[in-house]
């Protein structure tokens, strides 16, 4: 089937969900019938504050095949994101009551219900709206009124479709759901025909349900046994993990401090041949010639220690971005054993000289003689062995 839409219709459906997420910023999202996990993969990039992303499909083979596309990228480790994200994939059916699917902010069922038998649709409604009762539900399904416009189409759009609804049929179902489970709905869609055909409606019709009551799920219900099978779970590295945060911050601070120290040392080196004459015990040096805010407080040396004032480190935009205030920075650093701070927490202390290189020096051991006299008593002659005695 060739679609005359650009971008392709499936992309438009995904975009619809992404736009919704951007506007309403749900924290927990579940996608039923996630199949190749395309939508989940998109949402992973367009997070907009999503913290838990769950995909459910009845076909475990397809999940197994595609689940790795949801794994964190290398860059997620290199630059952990601010907000947490967990992705879980389950094998299961939308007609089953699964306790861990409760309490979500958004449920998406993109092109799903038409694959269910009509009897199953009823239990689907009951499970999703009655049992799970998420904050919002997005349901998309083909609009059968549009079908005559699709070239070469006979019957349903897909062999596995059990039905394709008109707008009226879809809306009747939706309104019933709203009445039964306390939701309100509005209808829209993607893929419009041109000209006078517009009146057949969108190619894909979409219903967006909003829950009318406040969520009051008690934790006791969560104790029901799980019916879904967990196929895949991954927790993305993020700064909301305190360990990762601490580590990232300390690394940034140490890097910055090391950088300042190195800068200072090389300045000393070039200004008075630090190599050959010992540097003064206490040397105050105005560092930073290129002009900047941090220049007001210099790096200095005290005994065997290079002192980097915290304010110098604080001037690094990366450090700033990681923690909101100098106070917090100081607090975080005082807790970390990798950072050596002055008692008042205003100065970082770094060793002036690197630990002496412990190059293995082979000592002269005159007594031990590893040398033996020529032991090659048998004179070898490979030419003879080869049987070719120079006959050129």
């Amino acid at each position: 089937m060739t679609t005359p839409f650009s971008p392709p219709l499936y992309m438009q459906r995904y975009q619809f969900v992404i736009d919704y997420v951007k506007t309403y910023r749900p924290k927990k999202v579940i996608d039923f019938g996630c199949a190749e996990c395309c939508l989940l993969k998109k949402l992973k990039f367009h997070r907009n504050g999503i913290q838990l992303l769950v995909g459910v499909d009845i076909n475990s083979v397809v999940l197994l095949k595609r689940m790795h596309t949801l794994a964190p990228l290398i860059s997620d480790y290199l630059q952990p994101s601010d907000g947490p994200l967990t992705i879980e994939l389950y094998q299961g059916s939308v007609t089953e009551r699964e306790p861990c699917t409760r309490g979500f902010d958004l449920v998406t069922c993109v092109e799903l219900i038409e694959h269910l038998e009509l009897v199953e649709v009823a239990s689907f409604s009951e499970v999703v709206f009655g049992y799970m009762s998420p904050g919002a539900v997005i349901v998309s399904t083909p609009n059968s009124e549009f079908n005559p416009l699709l070239p070469g189409l006979r019957g349903f759009r897909n062999y596995d479709h059990k039905f394709e609804w008109t707008r009226a049929e879809f809306q009747t179902w939706a309104h019933n759901v709203c009445r039964d489970y306390g939701y309100s709905v509005h209808f829209t869609g993607v893929g419009e025909a041109v000209g006078h055909w517009r009146e057949v409606g969108f190619c894909t019709q979409i219903a967006v349900f909003q829950r009318n009551f406040h969520d009051s799920m008690s934790n006791a219900e969560r104790l029901e046994p799980s019916v879904y099978r967990l196929m895949y779970k991954v927790v993305y590295p993020s700064l909301s993990d305190n360990n990762i945060y601490q580590r990232t911050l300390v690394n940034e601070v140490l890097y910055e401090a090391q950088h300042l120290r190195q800068e200072w040392l090389s300045r000393m080196d070039s200004s008075n041949n630090a190599h050959f004459c010992a540097p003064p015990l206490m040397h105050l040096f105005q560092h930073g010639a290129e002009g900047g805010t941090r220049d007001w407080q210099p790096v200095y040396q005290q005994g065997g220690t290079i002192c980097v004032p915290l304010a110098c480190v604080w001037s690094s935009p990366r450090v700033r971005a990681l923690c909101g205030s100098v106070q917090r920075l100081r607090q975080e650093l005082l807790e970390d054993e990798r950072v050596r701070m002055s008692a008042d927490g205003t100065v970082l202390n770094l060793p002036a000289a690197e630990e002496e290189e412990e190059e293995k020096e082979v000592e002269e051991e005159e007594d031990v003689k590893a040398v033996s006299v020529v032991a090659n008593s048998v004179e070898e002659d490979w030419d003879r062995e080869l049987g070719c005695c120079g006959n050129i």
């Binding site: 089937m1 650009s6 971008p7 990039f45 367009h46 997070r47 907009n48 197994l64 790795h68 794994a71 964190p72 990228l73 290398i74 860059s75 480790y77 290199l78 630059q79 580590r247 300390v250 690394n251 940034e252 140490l254 890097y255 090391q258 041949n273 190599h275 050959f276 290129e290 690197e354 290189e357 020096e361 082979v362 002269e364 590893a370 040398v371 033996s372 006299v373 020529v374 032991a375 090659n376 004179e379 070898e380 002659d381 490979w382 030419d383 062995e385 080869l386 070719c388 120079g390 050129i392």
Partner: protein, 1034 residues
């Protein structure tokens, strides 16, 4: 016979004179059915040279032709068997027992046999013998056919052969230890498949082999039993119980007259002959290696050819249609659009129907069995590798480039803003010992900085030369993009573009980069004025013929740097932080390997993924027997001594006189004022330590410079050299690591005013307690540069010339590559002649090589008044893929070179030296892996089936793992035995005068490397010819 097959083109003589066709072995008949494409999957292009193109082990793609020509019988049910009877005839023309290369497919059982043997140009006397025996063979083999009729075409191979009285898997095959196999050369040695298939496959190869002894008889290690034996030949029951047994049982059950032509379409891959490459010298030791045996439980892998009628162009559509027929093919398939591999056997020809969705055209899919491969066949390796990648992913490892890394074991080096990712590089290889998984521990260095971050840093540092600095920093480096895990090499920077520019997507829409990343990845580009990075992919065609070409533009902001920063490389301490994590010892290395094997085998999904193709990976690291070569005797001027266990003679060389020294009468030292003390101190120390080494040294001309600017140095060196033309040596004492100054000094002293020069960093001579030993080292180096000789080892070959060749490539790829060439001039291998040639990126190395070789021969003649009888060339920098090119192109050129000298035909050994390999060796004892001692050699099991090769670890390991060097004797008319090759190579590893011990590669290679590096990196031009007899480049 398939009635749909195109009619026989009409060579009526074929049946009776099949040998007439031998010339066509390499080509395809014009009307040949698409069978000929069977190779496509693995070998994208056919080598035009006879037989060579099939190096991957698909000998003779000509089954159809024979089948057509010979068999009028349509009813012949047996497909598998007769084709298997092929003759791995060793090709006489190339003088090597490389059975697989030109193995002629045994065309048919009866008449065709002559075809296979007839055309073989084996210059062996016993050839006639074989031909005489042929009639017997015919009667023996032909009768097989009716016997096989019973089980029918669908029956398993094993049962087929059981019916023949051949019991699968007995004494031979897997049971034999790898060492014993090769060394003893027993008949079962070649068997690499599992017992289950052996019944079929091995019986065939035994039959074939018994009577193709022709080529093999020429080998020195041939045992009697393996000679030109027909079934009635003198088969030793110990050596080859099977050829006897099977042959006998076959002939007994031979009721059908010979000449019944079988159908010959499906053939089995033959088992290759092992090459003679095992040496014996030295003491045996237990050696572990990072090779892990892979078990193939399946009997065979079946290769099919798939045709779509009417033709379906789109490969994607072909995939789709085949996917619909999974019920027929099963879930486990490897399909490239026309070649299909299955672990199961279908009917010989299967017709399936599919509908083309675009026009509802009904398509007939014909799946025809073309080949039965042993499961360890090279053809299977590509899709085994795909399986392996899947397994690695199942273990949660991340693919970066070609290797897999573990995000849960990352080491963060905050101080340097980088992360070290430990991981594995894996590959599957079919070596002499069978199918192996080769696992190496790999580390990926990733940086927390984006390219844009570093650009900002560079901008702060130098605004004027910003663009140049960026080019220097980034071009050639690898980046990883933020939105996927792909890595790209930066080839250029596009300064005139920015993220605000537009580009066209595949569907034709035009969008800006900013919009693209926002829309697709939710990424907001912060810096709108950044330039773009350019990656130019190598032109390659995807399956389906789509040629990928053009440029890929990347955003600096979204590209992370990988690899060790250049600045850090020069920082000794920073590198120590890093290498601490990267250089793992043998213990740790094997530990991580075992961990991986454990993870694979304890992961159910991984195990089942592997078992889809019948594979299972052993839990154990390969342990086999290697040898430690005998210690060598180092000869100085008068002292000589056997090397110690640590192969280190740093003390001896400074205590006893070198072989020859050049008195240092007139030399000049240049130093900036601030280094005056150090210079003075150094000169004093020189005179103190020179005596024991046998060096006489006079006071130098001392030139104190007012500053350390490059011009100051150059000007005063130049004026000194002009005013005093007898200066033997220029010594420069530099402050700091200064490439520009070093380069300027070397250019002046190597090109403009040729004179040996020595540059010394003041830092290295600043520590009084170390000065003595450093001065000794420098003095030895100076002696080499002046033409002195330090030490040697005895090489018991007369009139030998050893040549080392290495190529230096510039990282930025733009500039030319440089070939360094070093050749020995005397019998003690202490005089070296060196040359350099530059070549453009795609220019062949060989042009320059010929010039160098001729010059070296000329020089050798001047010195010795004769030409060398034996020439051994060590050629570094050749990858596995280029070996054929070396053999077929470079070596003939070298031989032509000799022809320019009248009546000159030296013996030649051409040995390729490979340093960058993934093979690691461990010593093994009492259940503990360690580093092997210097001189450890391994010449079987892990070696390449196609060549005579060996792994030698010559150097002593202080840190990290035992990385041997791989040596491949591509050409050897010198007839050096494996022992000679190995020991000569080990000897050569002793002769690098910059290091009083053994090194990883033969000294001439190292010299050539040094020379090429100096010329390419600093001189950018050929050094002056006056220096060609001195090791000025040390």
């Amino acid at each position: 016979m398939d009635p749909k097959r195109p009619p026989f083109p009409g060579h009526p003589g074929v049946t009776r004179m099949p040998w007439m066709q031998s010339a066509e072995d390499q080509g395809q008949l014009p009307d040949q059915p698409p069978l000929g494409r069977a190779r496509g999957l693995v070998l994208p292009k056919d080598d035009p040279l006879p037989g060579r193109g099939r190096a991957l082990g698909v000998p003779g793609e000509t089954p159809v032709r024979f089948g057509r020509g010979i068999s009028p019988s349509v009813s012949e049910p047996l497909v598998g068997f007769p084709r298997g009877v092929r003759l791995p005839t060793d090709e006489g023309g190339f003088g090597r027992a490389r059975g697989f290369l030109l193995s002629t497919p045994e065309p048919s059982v009866g008449i065709g046999r002559g075809a296979a043997v007839g055309p073989v140009p084996t210059p062996d006397i016993e050839k006639s013998d074989v031909q005489e025996k042929m009639p017997e063979r015919q009667t023996v083999v032909a009768p097989v056919i009716p016997q096989v009729e019973a089980p029918g075409p669908g029956s398993s191979l094993v049962s087929m052969f059981r019916g023949l009285g051949i019991e699968p898997a007995k004494t031979w095959g897997r049971g034999a230890t790898p060492v014993g196999r090769g060394a003893a050369g027993d008949l079962g040695a070649g068997v690499q498949s599992k017992p289950t298939i052996i019944g079929a496959e091995e019986a065939i190869s035994v039959l074939g082999r018994g009577f193709v002894g022709v080529g093999r008889a020429a080998l020195p290690h041939m045992s009697v039993g393996r000679g030109p034996i027909g079934p009635s030949g003198p088969v030793s029951p110990v050596d080859a119980p099977f050829s006897l047994q099977s042959a006998a049982s076959i002939s007994e059950e031979a009721p059908v007259p010979p000449g019944t032509p079988p159908k010959v379409e499906v053939k089995m891959e033959i088992v290759k002959e092992p090459l003679q490459k095992i040496g014996t010298k030295g003491s045996p030791i237990s050696i572990g290696s990072n090779y892990i045996p892979i078990c193939c439980k399946n009997e065979a892998v079946f290769q099919y050819h798939v045709t779509f009628t009417p033709n379906v162009e789109s490969v994607a559509m072909r995939f789709g249609m085949m996917k619909e027929h999974r019920p027929t093919t099963g879930e486990v398939v490897a399909f490239d659009g026309s070649i299909l591999y299955l672990p199961k056997r279908l009917e010989e020809v299967v017709h399936l129907k599919a509908e083309r969705k675009t026009d509802n055209q009904e398509i007939d899919i014909k799946i025809q069995l073309t080949k039965i491969l042993p499961p360890s066949s090279d053809l299977c390796i590509p899709f085994y590798s795909v399986v392996l990648r899947r397994v690695m992913r199942l273990l949660g490892l991340k693919l970066v480039g070609r290797n897999h890394y573990d995000p849960n074991a990352v080491v963060i080096l905050g101080k340097h803003r980088l992360q070290v990712w430990p991981g594995y590089s894996t590959s599957i290889k079919h070596t002499d010992g069978g199918l192996y998984l080769i696992v190496d521990v790999s580390h990926k260095v990733l940086r927390n900085d984006s390219v844009l971050d570093i650009m900002n840093l560079i901008y702060q540092g130098s605004r004027e030369s910003f663009q140049d600095e960026c080019t220097k920093e980034f071009v050639g480096s690898i980046v990883i993009t933020r939105y996927n895990n792909r890595t790209y090499r930066i080839d250029d920077i596009e300064w005139s573009k920015s993220p605000k520019d537009t580009f066209t997507l595949a569907d034709g829409t035009v969008t800006t980069f900013v919009e693209y990343y926002r829309k697709n990845y939710g990424i907001t580009i912060k810096e709108l004025e950044q330039p773009m990075l350019i990656h130019r992919p190598k032109e390659r065609s995807k399956p389906g013929g789509k040629v990928i070409t053009g440029e890929i533009l990347l955003l600096p902001e979204l590209s992370f740097m990988t690899g060790i920063p250049e600045k850090m490389r020069k920082d000794f301490r920073a590198m120590k932080d890093l290498t601490m994590h990267i250089n793992v010892g043998a213990e740790q290395h094997t530990q991580s390997l075992k961990q991986l094997l454990h993870n694979i085998n304890s992961n159910n999904e991984a195990v089942s993924e592997l078992s889809r193709w019948g594979l299972s990976i052993s839990q154990e690291i390969l342990v086999t027997q290697g040898r430690t070569l005998p210690n060598e005797t180092i000869c100085l001027h008068s002292a000589s001594f056997v090397t110690s266990q640590a192969v280190d003679w740093s003390r001896e060389v400074v205590r006893d006189p070198s072989i020859s020294t050049v008195p240092l009468k007139c030399w000049a030292v240049f130093y900036p004022r601030r280094a005056t003390d150090q210079a003075e101190e150094l000169v004093t120390t020189f005179t103190r330590v020179a005596g024991p080494m046998g060096i006489t040294i006079d006071r130098p001309i001392r030139v104190e410079l007012r500053d350390d600017r490059t011009e100051t140095f150059i000007k005063s060196i130049h004026s000194q050299l002009t005013s005093e033309p007898n200066v033997q040596l220029v010594v420069c004492i530099m402050t700091g690591n200064r490439d520009d100054l070093y380069s300027a000094i070397k250019k002046l002293c190597c090109i403009q005013s040729p004179v040996p020069s020595q540059a010394i960093n003041v830092r290295t001579i600043s520590q009084p307690q170390k000065l003595r030993s450093i001065a000794q080292k420098i003095l030895l180096q100076i002696n080499c540069k002046l033409g002195g000789e330090l030490w040697t080892v005895n090489v018991p070959l007369k009139y030998l010339m050893v040549i080392g060749v290495d190529v230096h490539h510039d990282v930025s790829k733009k500039s030319r590559s440089v070939m360094g060439f070093v050749a020995s001039l005397n019998s003690t291998l202490t005089k070296w002649y060196s040359r350099v040639t530059f070549q453009m990126p795609h220019e062949e190395i060989i042009n320059g090589f010929r010039v160098c070789l001729l010059a070296a021969l000329q020089k050798y003649y001047e010195v010795n008044h004769t030409f060398p009888e034996k020439i051994v060339i060590y050629r570094d920098g050749v990858s596995d893929g280029q070996l054929k090119t070396v053999e077929l192109y470079e070596i003939p050129q070298v031989l032509k070179c000799f022809e320019t000298i009248p009546n000159y035909e030296p013996k030649l050994a051409f040995i390729v030296v490979q340093k960058r390999i993934s093979t690691t060796l461990y010593s093994y004892g009492s259940n503990h892996f360690g580093t092997p001692s210097p001189g450890t050699v391994l010449d079987h099991t892990v070696t390449n089936r196609d060549w005579v090769d060996f792994y030698l670890m010559a150097h002593s390991i202080r840190q990290g793992c035992g990385l041997p060097t791989h040596y491949i004797a591509v050409y050897n008319t010198a007839n050096l035995t494996p022992d000679h090759l190995q020991r000569l190579t080990f000897k050569m590893c002793h002769l690098y005068w910059n290091w009083p011990g053994t090194i990883r590669v033969p000294a001439p290679c190292k010299y050539a490397h040094k020379l090429a590096f100096l010329s390419g990196q600093y001189l950018h031009s050929e050094p002056a010819i006056q220096l060609s007899e001195k090791l000025f480049f040390l």
